[in-house]
């Protein structure tokens, strides 16, 4: 895993930790960006971690690009000795899988899909050798997911499934992107899941919808009053399958300002995870039951 540094014009340095996605690549980026934040280098204006890479924006009037590059590269060595442990949180996200709204949208854009005769969830179940919709829901919600990037649009999390690579759900994006996706759709493209924070264009397969807003620019949602975006890179998500009744009830509770997501603090160690995936996941998910 060689780190590649490159300038993005005169204001950015782009760092690719690895060409391919892995939790190791994410952690490498996370430790360098943490070291960079702590170094408080004058002229650094934004630090953006991504899945297997990260980006730094700087003001070249304050720090020369070559000097910025030198200081950033020096931090890689510091970061490598840091333990790959993260004090983070697990968030339970209710999902109404195979819901009528994403189904309707999927039908409207069917000619842009690989398999116009089935639905996104049936198609993805089939190409991943899962036993129909129920088998898919079990695989999708059985293990936790890691928020490896927040972005594209405001507050949208990209999530990486915390299982062996050969058990990860994979699916192509639509052949041509849709011009519409319902807000709060749970989507999937490549090896990544996402939650669409706002309504709009999208190319990911659509599996369901969550009743839980994750971005609220007006900050009227009870749990988004402190900040308008819920997710941060490093968060862990557990999907909770729900039906229509619980979906409707949750929407009403959210609207009434009464609903709170289940969130628990948790420690995640990459070494522990590498040694015992299922054991680590069981411990991480157990934290949600401690409340």
């Amino acid at each position: 895993m060689t780190t590649r540094y490159t300038f993005g014009g005169d204001e950015h340095i782009f760092v690719e930790c690895s060409e391919e996605m892995s939790l190791e690549a994410f952690f490498k980026g996370m430790s360098i960006t943490t070291a960079l934040r702590n170094a408080k280098i004058k002229g650094v204006t934004e630090i953006c971690p991504a899945n297997a890479s990260f980006q730094v924006r700087f003001n070249p009037d304050i720090i020369a690009p070559d000097e910025m590059m030198r200081q950033l590269k020096a931090l890689e060595a510091v970061a490598q000795s840091a333990p790959s442990t993260l004090n983070t949180r697990i968030i339970e996200v209710p999902v109404y899988y195979n819901d009528p709204w994403t189904h309707e949208t999927g039908q409207r854009f069917r000619e842009r899909h690989q398999d116009p005769t089935s639905t996104d969830i049936e198609y993805t179940a089939r190409i991943n050798n899962l036993d129909g919709i129920d088998g898919f829901i079990k695989a999708h919600s059985g293990a936790p997911w890691f928020v490896s990037m927040v972005g594209f649009v405001a507050g949208l999390p990209f999530l990486y499934q915390m299982v062996d690579r050969d058990r990860q759900i994979q699916s192509p994006k639509y052949l041509r992107p849709r011009t519409d996706t319902p807000r709060l759709t749970v989507g999937h493209g490549g090896c990544f899941a996402c939650i669409y924070s706002v309504r709009g264009a999208g190319g990911y397969q659509m599996f369901g919808i969550t009743p839980m807003p994750i971005y609220d620019p007006n900050q009227t949602t009870s749990y988004l009053r402190d900040f308008m975006c819920l997710f941060k890179p490093g968060d862990i998500v557990k999907w909770k399958p729900i039906g229509r009744e619980e979906y409707d009830h949750t929407v009403a509770e959210v609207d009434a300002g009464r609903w709170q997501p289940r969130i628990a603090p948790v420690t995640f160690s990459l070494e522990e995870f590498a040694k015992d995936i299922d054991g680590t996941n069981a411990r991480v998910m157990e934290a949600l039951n401690g409340h």
Binding site: F14, E20, S22, Q55, R57, G151, F158, V198
Partner: protein
């Protein structure tokens, strides 16, 4: 003081110098696409360079003033009129209580910056008054203006009429427009031949050109260096594991139509980028109309920094001339 929006124009938004600091959670900086013109408009009417103004695209709004104010219109050649009487661009003029500011047809450029003494006084959200329409954030109710909106305006002094920015200090794209670009990022993904044709070809601004990004067409498609797709990237040769996109970065989905991301950029995604338009030329993109012939010009970091310094000098000269 307030301004009544009689007609909104095509897509008029409140913008200032932007909202840096939240790109890591997908909230882009927003702000004027041509910030040099935005700052000049403010300085003309006696505001701070970063006060909130209106950015009008292709077509001006129609605005009724409820109090006397100084106004200046910069950027595109979008001739302002006060009660039908044409006023010069890049020059401060007075609009009296009850008068209507309207605009003639666009002659040149794409975005006019309308500064009003006191600044547009919408609430500050995450440190800025700029509108981010995709996220319904900031500006006037998070959206472009509509007829019937009432825009709050801050308290400002009335500077002298007729203050003007010298023609030599008004920056505008040439013909063809030239955008200086520093190759990098995933440049190694395209072949040497594609690297040559990209700079040789004259591209044209596509109709899909907005505050998120500008798309270009009419150049030869780019060929890729063969590879085995990395895990998580996707099968198209232009796919990468979803990563951050620098402002000004040039992505080329499937190697066909380059897209330069601008101030309402999507903060990341899965397409490789072949370089980044230098910070000094971002203003020029904001003034490109669809179909404008455009060439990308390869530069070094040193040249990028010289361009940046030149732009700063222009802004300083404007500020000095109006001090």
């Amino acid at each position: 003081m307030a301004i009544n929006v009689l007609k909104p124009g095509l897509s008029t938004t409140v913008q200032d110098l932007g909202r840096p600091g939240y790109y890591h959670i997908g909230i882009p900086t927003s702000g004027g696409m041509d910030t040099l013109s935005l700052a000049a408009a403010n300085l003309l009417v006696g505001n701070d360079a970063g006060a909130a103004v209106l950015e009008a695209v292709f077509m001006g709004p129609e605005l009724e003033f409820t109090q006397d104010a100084m106004v200046a219109v910069t950027g595109a050649d979008l001739p302002p009129k006060v009660d039908g009487q044409e006023q010069p661009c890049w020059t401060a003029f007075k609009v009296k209580k009850g008068q209507v500011l309207s605009f003639g047809f666009l002659k040149k450029g794409a975005r006019g910056y309308i500064a009003v003494s006191g600044g547009i006084d919408v609430p500050v959200v995450l440190g800025s008054r700029s509108t981010y329409t995709l996220g319904a954030l900031g500006g006037f109710e998070g959206r472009k203006l509509a007829a019937g909106d009432v825009l709050p305006v801050g308290a400002g002094a009335l500077v002298a009429e007729g203050r003007s920015v010298a023609e030599a200090l008004r920056r505008a794209p040439g013909a063809p427009a030239e955008l200086r670009m520093l190759p990098g990022l995933y440049w190694h993904r395209i072949t040497e031949h594609a690297g040559k044709t990209f700079f040789e070809d004259t591209w044209k601004v596509a109709p899909e050109a907005d505050r998120i990004g500008y798309r270009f067409k009419a150049g030869r498609p780019l060929d890729f260096v063969p590879r085995t797709p990395p895990f998580g990237a996707g099968s198209d040769p232009s796919n990468i594991v979803d990563a951050c996109y620098p402002y000004g970065s040039v992505q080329v989905p499937s190697g066909t139509e380059p897209i330069v991301l601008h101030r309402d950029a999507v903060s990341g995604g899965g397409y490789m980028m072949i370089g980044t338009v230098v910070s000094a030329d971002m203003d020029l993109i904001g003034q490109l109309q669809p179909h404008t012939p455009t060439k990308f010009v390869k530069v070094t970091m040193e040249q990028a920094l010289t361009a940046r310094a030149d732009r700063s000098k222009t802004l300083e000269a404007i500020a000095k001339s109006l001090a």
